[in-house]
């Protein structure tokens, strides 16, 4: 038989990020196992190469280099945080690798070697705000986030967006907290008083990871219910909820491109496979897992289409590849290396699942460069010939500098 196709899996299995990333590693193993059971790709088996970057950002780069240079993997699926992706980026560009990144992020990036299968801000944040405004009549906004780049950027985009829509400065409250913040008493109290000004108020939360549990607990204890001040979160999924007593949270919202509760046969099959793979009836699925599902299938399709695992061939072949997602739609790889996704708004239920209350009529294509940031509204990304540029400035008609070096 031919050499197997080596699939690098670059997710933290220890340290603070393990909590989120281990499931993604397992997802990849499951997908690979299944693909191999179906005979692999092009008659070649797939072989997973798992490494542990241990939630340590420089280690992500080192491991990526190891995967590409020593293990000579054909493709890498990995990373969760933006900082880890930023750390890996120069390495995959230098060594011309392929990276599938499965998590929602702040956008403002488009690399020839990276495929962004998670949501860009226009695939999550903006539709969620639209929903709150149009369906719930929200007029006052609390933008609460963990103090790092993803929330900062998202909030900046949302702030511009809201102001463009005529929301006054006084109706926007922005609050940042450190990672792992666990004492939300005074912030929740502030939100409460901000919300008692007579206008419908909502919280847009980009609070990350572990800080959420104490946040929601405090909301519950201070009696802030979803009917008073709903919270819509961008980083709280089924996995996070599985560690929370959801009773006080019922009715709060989240915006994602996938929910485990979506009523769809493909989804049910995926869940069944996952439960079986984990051997745990209670195992949950979530949005980044779906992103890996899509990314993996896209890669497989692209390999079939190109007839090779050659990186440059894949890069050309994959644009336009369309595979079904788990919510009944189709995900297509766009020329800017982002994909099309439906946007779903779900309300938290007492069983730790989301019930979908709203969704976009059709899928939305990911936008690498936000239209609501002054520095990037003129930029577009298109990796097809002849443009082949991740940051083409439509005003100046020039491609930004990074591409030149990348192709050096």
């Amino acid at each position: 038989a031919e050499d197997p196709i080596k699939v690098g899996i670059l997710h933290s299995l220890s340290g603070t990020m393990a909590i989120s990333e281990t499931a993604l590693k397992d997802t990849m193993l499951m997908l690979i196992e299944k693909q191999n059971a179906e005979g692999g790709v092009l008659g070649r088996k797939l072989e997973p190469v798992v490494v542990d970057p241990a939630s340590n950002w420089p280690l992500f780069a080192e491991r990526a280099r190891e995967l590409l240079e020593k293990e000579k993997v054909d493709v890498i699926f990995g990373n969760w945080t933006s900082v880890s992706r930023k750390s890996v980026l120069p390495v995959v560009e230098e060594l011309n690798g392929l990276l599938f990144y499965p998590v929602q992020y702040e956008g403002e990036e488009s690399s020839e070697n990276v495929f962004y299968t998670g949501a860009a801000p226009n695939q999550q944040a903006i539709p969620a705000v639209d929903y709150l405004k149009n369906e719930l009549g929200v007029e006052r906004w609390v933008l609460a986030g963990t103090d790092y780049v993803y929330p900062r950027t998202t909030n900046r985009i949302l702030e511009t967006y809201l102001k463009d829509q005529g929301v006054a400065d006084a109706d926007i409250m922005i609050n940042y907290t450190p990672f792992g913040h666990s004492d939300w008493q005074s912030i929740v109290s502030d939100i409460k008083s901000f919300g008692s000004a007579g206008k419908k108020t909502a919280v847009v939360s980009t609070i990350n990871g572990d800080a959420n549990v104490p946040f929601y607990r405090e909301l519950g204890n201070q009696g802030v219910s979803a009917s008073d001040i709903p919270v819509v979160a961008f980083s709280v999924g089924e996995q996070e909820l599985s560690g929370i007593d959801t009773a006080p949270l019922v009715g709060h919202l989240a915006a994602w491109n996938y929910f485990m509760s979506v009523d769809n046969e493909a989804n049910y099959d995926f869940i069944d496979a996952w439960v079986e793979f984990k051997g745990d009836e209670k195992a949950v699925t979530n949005d980044p897992m779906e992103a890996h599902y899509i990314g993996f299938n896209m890669y497989v399709e692209a390999v079939k289409k190109a007839g090779t695992t050659d990186v440059d061939a894949i890069k050309d072949a994959i644009i336009g590849v369309a595979v079904p997602n788990l919510t009944g739609g189709i995900a297509t790889m766009m020329p800017n290396h982002h994909i099309t996704k439906p946007v779903l708004i779900g309300e938290i239920q007492d069983n730790g699942q989301f019930s979908v209350v709203w969704e976009t009529p059709s899928t939305v294509a990911g936008d690498a460069w936000s239209d609501f940031l002054p520095g990037s509204k003129d930029l577009i990304s298109d990796w097809r010939a002849p443009l082949r540029c991740g940051n083409f400035n439509v005003v100046t008609g020039k491609c930004g500098g990074s591409a030149e070096v990348a192709s050096n």
Partner: protein, 534 residues
């Protein structure tokens, strides 16, 4: 609003119909089925109409249907369209019962069921209906909650009902709330006199109404509302200060709890115990474990976790002491190294054996929510318990260290081990007991923290640094110092936070600690004199 008005009016009829003296109406089962089925198929706007009809039906099962609907527990069977009540909705297979008859229908695959979607607006409607109903139940607490719910939700249809209710209501607080609810409605109607009724209230909905009135076109109303707001603002300030203090004490007591075990193992024994955080984590996981053992009885499980958490952590402490720390006598700095290793091992152990994910620890009923001191000041119950718990643990430890022989012996052993042994003190035993005590107390902290924060493998990491800060800030070896330091740091943090933001507040507290140590190089309560210099 209009939907609500209609519904509320209809609800009145229904509420009267539900009165115990009146014979209850019951619709035909197949009519009920059709009604529910229509609910399932309707769009959101239509759903509210169906809800209205259900309320209107006067069926005694209606309340159950409405509650199930609001809780997202109504579903249809895909193949037949039959509406069922989901009694358990975790996992891939759900327990269902007939919505109409209530008979159990066993387990069904999720694939075969279609949940009837509900959203906040609909849920809010249902709550509104139920509130009006609840106004006439016997329990005054339920009535109070219902009345509070009605604040800002009264309209022309419900207003007369409320007025009527107000006549017969005998509970003062309920009366006050109902009067405010009415007044808000009247204010919305442009009645300037309503402002007087509202000007004393601290309730946030009242304030919202006044805020709206303040931007009214009628200058008289606007001015009156402004005035009322100003007087409320004044009262709020005081409450705000009290609230900040409470937040501070509460954060402080968390710090004290986290640090107090360390004050023993580190402060008294001199072991730089980097695994302290993981011992806390063990306590928290014990709580989770107990709740698994006693499903459905989170309160009992929590209470049992107190001794259990202590024992588990103490046992872990004993194992650590016996296997590692006893070999490091007289090399305190190296305990840092070894316990750091232990902390890595314990974290990974939890990840491997239990899960890298956080675990759900349920807050028992009696610990959720808050006690309302007044409409603007409520004390969250879980925090209140934690404050009390911290003080009790502290007092207990103080008693042990001051009043028992163990306390004396520990200090003797740490100050001069060889001499203590020459005096007949069984140093090994003392070491074990002390370390077990410190570890056990860490376990207790974990039990308490499980009610506040994540129970996960990283729990310990989040508290270890704070714990060391508190112990050192208070003065190593001084339990009082730990108490005062914890409460002080907590309060300062909460005072700074609204003003500087959470991140800067934290930085400022750290800088303050650094500067404070310059002023008092041995903490708040230093050991003074020759003795300290050794």
């Amino acid at each position: 609003m209009s939907i609500f008005r209609l519904l509320a009016g209809l609800a009145l009829a229904w509420c009267l119909a539900l009165g115990p003296a009146v014979a209850t109406a019951q619709v035909q089962d197949d009519t009920a089925q059709t009604l529910l089925q229509r609910l399932a198929e309707a769009s959101n706007a239509e759903k509210s109409k169906v809800l209205k009809q259900i309320a209107e039906s006067g069926d005694e099962r209606a309340r159950g249907w409405l509650e199930a609907f609001a809780g997202g527990r109504l579903a249809t069977v895909k193949s037949s369209g039959y509406v069922v009540l989901v009694t358990s909705n975790t996992g891939r297979n759900w327990q269902v019962a007939s919505a109409v008859t209530g008979d159990s229908m066993g387990e069904m695959s999720r694939r075969d069921l279609d949940s009837i979607r509900v959203n906040n607006a609909l849920r809010s409607q249902v709550e509104g209906i139920l509130s009006v109903v609840d106004l006439s139940v016997a329990d005054h607490r339920t009535r109070r909650a219902a009345a509070r719910h009605l604040l800002g939700r009264v309209d022309t249809v419900t207003a007369p009902l409320i007025e009527e209710r107000l006549e017969v209501e005998d509970n003062d607080r309920v009366r006050e709330l109902l009067a405010n609810a009415l007044a808000i409605h009247q204010l919305e109607q442009g009645d300037i006199n309503a402002i007087e009724q509202l000007s004393g209230s601290l309730n946030s909905r009242v304030r919202a109404a006044l805020n709206n009135a303040a931007s009214s076109d009628d200058p008289a109303i606007a001015a009156a509302a402004e005035k009322a707001l100003a007087s409320i603002e004044q009262k709020l300030k005081l409450n705000k200060a009290a609230e900040t203090l409470y937040f501070g004490l509460s954060l402080g007591s968390v710090l004290v709890l986290a640090a107090i075990g360390l004050a023993i193992t580190f402060g008294v024994m001199g072991v730089i115990n980097m695994a302290h955080g993981e011992l806390i984590m063990l306590g928290a996981y014990t709580t989770w474990g107990m709740q698994q053992l006693f499903p459905g009885q989170p309160g009992l499980a929590l209470i049992l976790s107190i001794p259990a958490g202590f024992m588990v952590a103490a046992l872990a402490g004993i194992i650590i002491e016996r296997s590692v720390i006893q070999h490091l006598k007289g090399r305190p700095l190296e305990t840092l190294l070894a316990t750091f290793g232990i902390s890595l091992i314990l974290q990974q152990l939890v990840r491997t054996v239990i899960s890298p994910l956080n675990r759900t620890v349920v807050t028992p009923e009696w610990m959720s929510g808050s006690i309302m001191i007044n409409e603007a000041l409520s004390l969250t119950l879980n925090r209140l318990y934690v404050i009390g718990f911290a003080l009790v643990v502290f007092a207990g430890l103080m008693l042990i260290m001051r009043r028992t022989r163990l306390g004396l012996e520990v200090r003797a052993v740490t100050q001069n081990r060889a001499m203590a042994r020459s005096m007949g003190i069984k140093a090994t035993k003392v070491d074990i007991m002390t370390f077990a005590l410190g570890s056990g107390v860490a376990g207790l902290a974990g039990v308490a923290l499980s009610q506040i924060t994540n129970v996960g493998p990283n729990l310990g990491q989040n508290y270890i640094i704070d714990s060391f800060m508190v112990v050192v800030f208070g003065g190593v070896g001084n339990l009082w110092g730990t108490l005062v330091a914890g409460l002080t740091l907590g309060t300062i943090n909460q005072v700074l936070e609204p003003w500087a933001g959470a991140v800067l507040a934290k930085i400022m507290v750290l800088v303050m600690i650094i500067l404070f140590i310059q002023k008092r190089p041995r903490g708040l309560f230093p050991q003074k004199g020759r003795a300290a210099e050794g």
